[in-house]
Structure formats: C-alpha cells, structure tokens
Subunit: 251 residues, 2 copies
C-alpha cells in the first residue's frame, strides 16, 4: 500500500451496487480509497452534469459517500468538495455487463472515467461481461492488479483505460490484451408490438449484435477469454478528416 495514494471510486449503478463495493474493497489495499456514488441507478443519464438544482452529499460509512446526482456529479463533487483535491487515481465500476466498441458512448461507467481524465487524473473504467447475477470476485482481483499497474507505470496523457473482463473463472482467463475499440454492426432489432388499444409501438432491443474489426479489438479479446484494456482519448477530432475537408470542400 502506498500511504500517499488517494483513490476515488465511483459507478453509475448506485452506491449499494455489489460491483462498486467489490471495487472499493479491492483498491482499499492500494491507498486511501473513497467511494462517492449516486444514490440511485443512473445508467440512463450517463454523461449529464446536474446544474438545475443543488446536490446533497450524505456520508453512509467511513469513506463512503452518496449524492442525489449522476456519476459525473459524483466525480466533480468528490474531487473538489469531499476530497478537496484531485485524487491519485479514479476507478469506475465494476459494471455488470460489458462496455465494448461503439457502445462506450452510452456508458455511465466510462463517462465517470472521462470526467476524471478531464481533471488530469489517471482513470480506469471496469466492466464485467456475462449476465446477472454477476460474481465480482475475479473482476475485483483484476481491477486491483490494473489499478496497481496504473499507479506504478502511469497512463498515456489525456487517456483513460476502458477495461472489460470476461465472465470466467480466474483459471480460465487467458491474460490481458491491449486492444482497439471495436465497431458494432446493427442488426434488425426493433420489435413491433401493440398496446391494449391496438396502437402500434416499437420496442428497441434483442436481435444479434455483430462486430467488425480484426483480432485487435476489445470485443474479440473478451470473446477469446482475455481481459481487454483499451486506451480511450478525450480528443475526438479526426485530424486526417481536417485534410479531407480542406482539400475536398470547395467553399
């Protein structure tokens, strides 16, 4: 344990979620761990910052706080009011269900790590594949190891790590792979249904998700039984796209 390391722990499923409790316990051996997480499941309001009302912080236990806001609120208030200075490391998760490829743009777990990265804090997002009920024991061990590595070796600048862990026993996991973000192909997955008054509704979901990209993607690594670690940057600019526009667009 590094007595000087301060680790902010958060998630988007709420402070009572077993995934975040497993993560909090795992990183507690690496420094002072402080958990600040939403009161309720916030999966649906992922990236938003609450600015139209004040937020109340409640302390639940020693080093465990909650507030009636979003994961982004928790990171902002956690860093600047509860800790009063940026922590050494931020960890988010463990999300029950993977956050792979293009889907990370919907992810509250990843958005908390984006917010940490904006503050210049090395940040990691952890997600565990498979279906409920999840057992977070193996994933918490992986989170401990990767958080420890991040403290020791650092992260690339302005970059977070999106970590996806396969839902396998410790012995069945083949290792760690550094990966690129995969691309999802949409398959038909909108079901038509009717309400009690005979009116048509659409229900998005189901179907089979398909992926493109080679053996270097996050999705491929997890499917093969590896832990996927993808470096994700804040700068979304397509720099080569600038050249395209300057050359092709005749103003």
């Amino acid at each position: 344990m590094n007595p000087k390391a301060v680790i902010l722990v958060t998630n988007d499923d709420g402070v009572y979620a077993p995934g975040v409790r497993a993560l909090f316990e795992a990183v507690s051996s690496l420094g002072r761990a402080v958990l600040v997480a939403p009161e309720r499941d916030n999966s649906a309001v992922s990236h938003s910052l609450t600015m139209n009302r004040p937020l109340q912080v409640k302390q639940l236990e020693d080093e465990i706080y909650t507030l009636d806001g979003t994961p982004t609120d928790c990171v902002t208030i956690g860093m600047r009011k509860i800790l009063a200075k940026p922590p050494t490391l931020l960890v988010s998760g463990i999300n029950p269900g993977s956050n792979l490829g293009d889907d990370i743009s919907y992810s509250g777990t990843v958005s908390a790590a984006i917010e940490g990265t904006m503050y210049g804090v090395p940040s990691l997002a952890f997600s565990l594949g498979g279906d409920s009920p999840h057992n977070f024991t193996v994933a918490a061990g992986v989170a401990w190891k990767l958080a420890s590595m991040a403290l020791t070796f650092g992260l690339p600048p302005a970059t977070l790590l999106n970590v996806n862990i396969p839902d396998l026993s410790a012995g069945a996991i083949k290792g760690i792979r550094f990966t690129v973000q995969g691309r999802r192909i949409y398959k038909d997955a909108i079901q038509e249904t009717f309400d009690p008054w005979g009116r048509k509704h659409y229900w998005i979901g189901g179907g089979t998700v398909q992926w493109t990209g080679g053996s270097d993607t996050d999705e491929h690594a997890v499917r093969q039984g590896y832990i996927s670690v993808t470096p994700i940057q804040l700068d979304l600019t397509n720099h080569s796209g600038l050249t395209f526009l300057e050359n092709q667009w005749k103003m």
Copy 2:
C-alpha cells in the same frame, strides 16, 4: 433540390423547439426532409437508447413525427421504421447554446449525429452560441449551406461534423473554419448553499470556463466570429497509447 436526397432531421430539445423547426425548413429545399424528434426536452438523457419499454410514434404534420423517447431513439426508429431505409444525410439541432470542446461528450445534439454516423449516414450537428432568446435565421442559412456541401462533397469516413455558429448577424460572421476540439479547464464553479433545514448542498455551475489549445480550436474560431466545423470520429482509441502501454507496463 436533389429529388433523391432524403434528409433526417432531429434534435434533443424536442419536436416543438424553434431551432429544429428552423433547421427542418432550411434543409427542405435540399431534398425530402423528414423531422423525427423527441416529444419533450431530452437534454439530460443525451446518449441513451430506450430499451425497457416500447415507443409510440405520432405523426404531427406532413413529414413531422415525434416519439416519447430520446434523440438516439429518434434516429434509430426514424431510419429503420419511419423512413424504412437510411437517409442520404442526417442533421441535428439547431441547439440553442454552443457545443464546444470536451463538452460535446455531454451533448444530445452531437449524440444524435454520432448515432447517424454509426449507421454510415453523413451526419452534422448544429449549435448556435449566445444566450436565450435565440434567433435561428442566420444559423439556419449556415446549416443549409453546410448540409448542401456535405451532400455535394461528402464527409470523411466514420466522421461527423460538429458545427458551432457564433451568435452574430450574417454580415458580422467572418467565414468558416475547420477546427480541432478544444480543451476546457475547470475553474471553481461549485457554490455551497443551504436548504431550509440548514443542511449544506452543492450547486454545480457558474464560474468562468477557460480553454486551452491554440488558434486552431473550435472555441477560438467561434470567439473570433467564425463558424467552427470540427470533424469528430467514432473511434476513441488512443492508438499511440497502445504503444505506451505495451512498452511501459511490465506485466
């Protein structure tokens, strides 16, 4: 007008917002324009896809539809059920208020264009700077011009355009600049307040936003009176970060 062009129009402020109506009217001269937008203001649930309940589509006028969901739902249902095939172009906005730099990760306006891009449709997000009440006349003219250019010259692959228009008269706008995403610096902007029972709350907001980056950024262009056009990519992987991890992290 290209009689074969089909243009899907959406936003995150709701189908009755003046910004989306101005955009719809502007692009109607470029092809068949179809407006599919949320019933209500969805600024807070930006990226999410509704999968826990069915969605009802209502037709309000000729080529104007609404549904009780998010901007992402509107794009998905609009493309696949209302149009029954991907459109030639997607335009989102016009948002009252800019979407610059790191803040685009919170933006429902931009997320609708991300969703269009995932479907392979050239997509543009439009935002107008300044404060309410907004006059969308000049911005609608800019949107018409840029949508027309996108139809003629195309976009870089897997890339959307994030367009920010300064809140100026047509004569005062200096031109168009292709820009990179700026970086925001956080300034102290959490106010402490007390509820009627004397309990402390935090209110996020206010303060002065500061920006880093050079004269090539979106924020700088708008501040100088230019229309900012930033190419934004779907791939968030920091590819050079992979090399960092492979070389620095001793497993």
